[in-house]
């Protein structure tokens, strides 16, 4: 059962024979793509090379990693599929259930195994947050690089399978694990993963290069590299970084050949656009850079390429092409919102089922490439195309899940900034601005003036927090309100007006920072010290700190302390403790999950505490001037 009809390919269709060997049956995931047998062949080859064949990790270790990735993404189809395979491989049922529920310390007797699973979970959910520290954790446990690479590959493949399953709408082939995992169960607070919409890949692109030690490829003799050279003009670093796995490279290039390099139901150009749009949706600078170069080779103008990457609705693509990109982006960034309706919408525009399948498979491939690249940490092959990354627009998401319909994704699992609309600001009936908003929407200018009056101080403070400069803040306020005015017609009250406004301001502020080439973005300014920060000032504070200094003095101390904070912590503190937004509202404004917001907020408060402690600790009364 899926969104697509199944064509009988006969008993001799090689990929199906292969799949039957490993799963006992042909999983519906592949049967639902029988309209495009070449795609199935390429996918099966990749599956065989990465998941099914024994290499550095044993098949059950790999299936376990894939299971954890699927469970982390709450993908019921893939959970059941990997679960079944593990059962066939003889894994103990109790262990499986623990895995599905993402409990910690599954195999305390094998800490390195648990470390790889933790890593896989983080990678599958928020690939963009993987950083060197994660690799240090693994190497501290003496896990060899070939096993780490294999974990990256299996996780990326696991993500690809999840995207396929969601896009194709397949129903589970096997009984789901019983008793059913409690999806609403507490996600371990240990994993405070944060989507980083502004910088995914930046850390990777900056200086680090490949993180894993790989043997230099003998590039002369390897046919897949010839194919890459033919289509890209060279062998991109992403592939060179995997040189020790010629089997995987062969399968990857095969996949690219069937989904990118050749024309099929979709043209090469269409396929490249889908890959580019999804990569941009993930803010993956590596792939955005490489794919925009690829589109240049295919003859697309620079302006058009940039438009497709940043916001394809402003490109010159045809209606159906734009709809394909819409579907691909939704599938990969908001999988929980993707449904049959999205498929039907494409059908109504005259897109053939073969083309829809290709679009889904290409989007899934883009997820694979994104996840793997984020893990490998390869630097862009050209000068990074930062200006091709999309702005985060202050739109409200359509198809917002009904809160009563209970979105099964806990905050932690929101996959992108776009998903955050489902987290917060749901009960907006109490928005004190709703009357004014309505009047503006009916064309009443004075009502807008009142909104500006109400909120301009707040917006100013927030922009000052981001930019640190008064003039920038003042210009930013103007820009924010003009943009809000322009988009007023599309504001539908799904979040509070003030939260919406703050998000516009955040975007404006970040854009300003980018323009002024001050790249301390919201997500930077902290590296390893992130992990090692510990409170140092441990003297008790006086009972009544307010009594020690005048309000002016306190203000000056606090402003000085705030300005010294790394921006991401500063913003969390400003929104929460100065603007007094709720945790959910602040998370929404910063486009973070609630756990991520909380962790930033705590860090910010603790750092500020360090800065203030010399003035407020007991015995310090007036000791140091302000």
């Amino acid at each position: 059962m899926s969104y697509f009809p199944e064509i009988d390919r006969g008993l001799n269709f090689a990929p199906f024979q292969q799949l039957r060997e490993h799963f006992g049956i042909v999983p519906g995931l592949f049967r639902s793509q029988t309209l495009r047998p070449e795609v199935i062949e390429a996918e099966t080859e990749l599956l065989e090379a990465i998941l099914l064949r024994e290499r550095s990790l044993r098949p059950e270790q790999k299936a376990t990693i894939a299971l954890v990735a699927a469970a982390a993404r709450r993908n019921g189809y893939c959970v059941a599929m990997h679960y079944q395979r593990l059962r066939e491989l003889g894994t103990r049922e109790e262990d499986l259930l623990l895995l599905v529920e993402l409990r910690d310390r599954v195999s305390s007797e094998q800490p390195e195994g648990a470390a790889l699973l933790d890593f896989a979970k983080k990678l599958s959910l928020h690939a963009g947050t993987i950083c060197r520290a994660d690799f240090e954790t693994l190497s501290a446990r003496a896990i060899p690089d070939d096993q780490v690479l294999e974990t990256l590959l299996v996780t990326a493949l696991g993500v690809l399978l999840c995207t396929l399953a969601t896009g194709l709408g397949v129903k589970a082939d096997f009984d789901p694990p019983a008793p059913l995992p409690n999806w609403d169960g507490q996600p371990s607070t240990k994993y405070q993963l944060e989507p980083r919409p502004f910088t995914t890949g930046r850390e990777a692109g900056a200086a680090q290069g490949p993180r894993l030690c790989t043997t230099e490829p003998d590039v002369g003799e390897f046919p897949p590299f010839d194919s890459l050279r033919l289509h890209f003009g060279f062998v991109p670093g992403f592939f060179q970084a995997q040189a020790q796995r010629t089997d995987v490279l062969t399968a990857e290039v095969r996949m690219l050949e069937s989904l990118l390099f050749q024309d099929g139901p979709l043209s090469r150009l269409q396929r490249s656009c889908i890959l580019l749009a999804v990569s941009a949706g993930h803010f993956n600078i590596y792939w955005v850079t490489l794919l925009s170069e690829r589109l240049r080779i295919l003859g697309l103008s620079e302006d058009e390429t940039r438009a497709i990457s940043r916001d394809h609705s402003k490109s010159h693509l045809s209606g159906p092409d734009k709809a394909l990109l819409d579907a691909a982006i939704k599938l990969t960034t908001r999988p929980s919102d993707f449904s049959r309706l999205d498929i039907d919408r494409l059908g109504a525009l005259g897109v053939h089922p073969e083309q829809v399948i290709e679009c889904i498979a290409t989007a899934a491939l883009a997820d694979f490439l994104h996840t793997l690249q984020a893990g490998l940490g390869t630097a862009p092959d050209f000068e990074a195309a930062w200006d091709y990354l999309p702005e985060v627009e202050p739109q409200e998401t359509e198809a917002l899940p009904d809160i009563n319909n209970s979105n099964p994704f806990p905050d932690e699992f929101s996959l992108t900034n776009a998903a955050l609309d489902s987290q917060a600001g749901m009960s907006t009936t109490d928005d004190p601005d709703s009357d004014l908003v309505l009047r503006v929407q009916q064309g009443e200018m004075n009502a807008f003036e009142e909104l500006v009056n109400r909120h301009n101080r707040k917006i100013y403070r927030i922009l000052l927090g981001i930019t640190g400069k008064h003039e920038e803040a003042e210009d930013g306020v103007q820009e924010t309100f003009l943009k809000a005015f322009e988009h007023m017609g599309s504001f539908k009250g799904r979040s509070r007006f003030s939260t919406w406004l703050i998000r516009i301001a955040m975007n404006a502020g970040v854009q300003r920072m980018r323009r002024s080439r001050n790249m301390e973005s919201l997500d930077e300014g902290v590296g390893e010290d992130d992990e090692t920060f510990r409170p140092r000032q441990l003297r008790a504070w006086t009972d009544d700190p307010e009594q020690l200094y005048s309000k002016e003095q306190r203000r000056s101390l606090v402003e000085r302390g705030l300005k010294a904070l790394p921006q991401k912590y500063r913003m969390a503190v400003i929104l929460r403790d100065i603007e007094q937004l709720s945790t959910e509202e602040a998370a929404q404004a910063l486009q973070l999950g609630v756990p991520a917001l909380k962790s930033r907020l705590l860090r910010g408060r603790l750092m500020l505490r360090e800065a203030l402690a010399p003035y407020f600790a007991r015995g310090q009364r007036g000791g140091e001037g302000v």
Partner: protein, 85 residues
């Protein structure tokens, strides 16, 4: 029984009064025993208080009024917003 690490990890939620009963109990138990954590908790709570009523980054009324004026002048130059039926 929580150790100091765990207390620190839960501190954000505790400060915002967003912890479930069991964790609260653990936390309070630890805080009663551990001088270091109780100082960190108490001073962070006070930090928040000081920050919240510091009036930081507040701007004078005239500046705010001037901004409104500037913005409305620009807004009136542009076309009226899309009206909703």
């Amino acid at each position: 029984m929580f150790n100091c690490e765990q207390v620190l990890a839960e501190l954000a939620s505790y400060l915002d009064d967003e912890v479930v009963a069991e964790i609260r109990q653990e936390l309070e138990h630890h805080l009663a025993e551990c001088k270091t954590c109780s100082v960190i908790y108490d001073s962070t709570r006070k930090t928040i208080r000081v920050v919240t009523d510091s009036g930081s980054f507040e701007i004078p009324e005239e500046v705010s009024a001037r901004m409104t004026k500037r913005i409305m002048a620009k807004v009136r130059e542009t076309s009226p917003p899309e009206s909703k039926p």
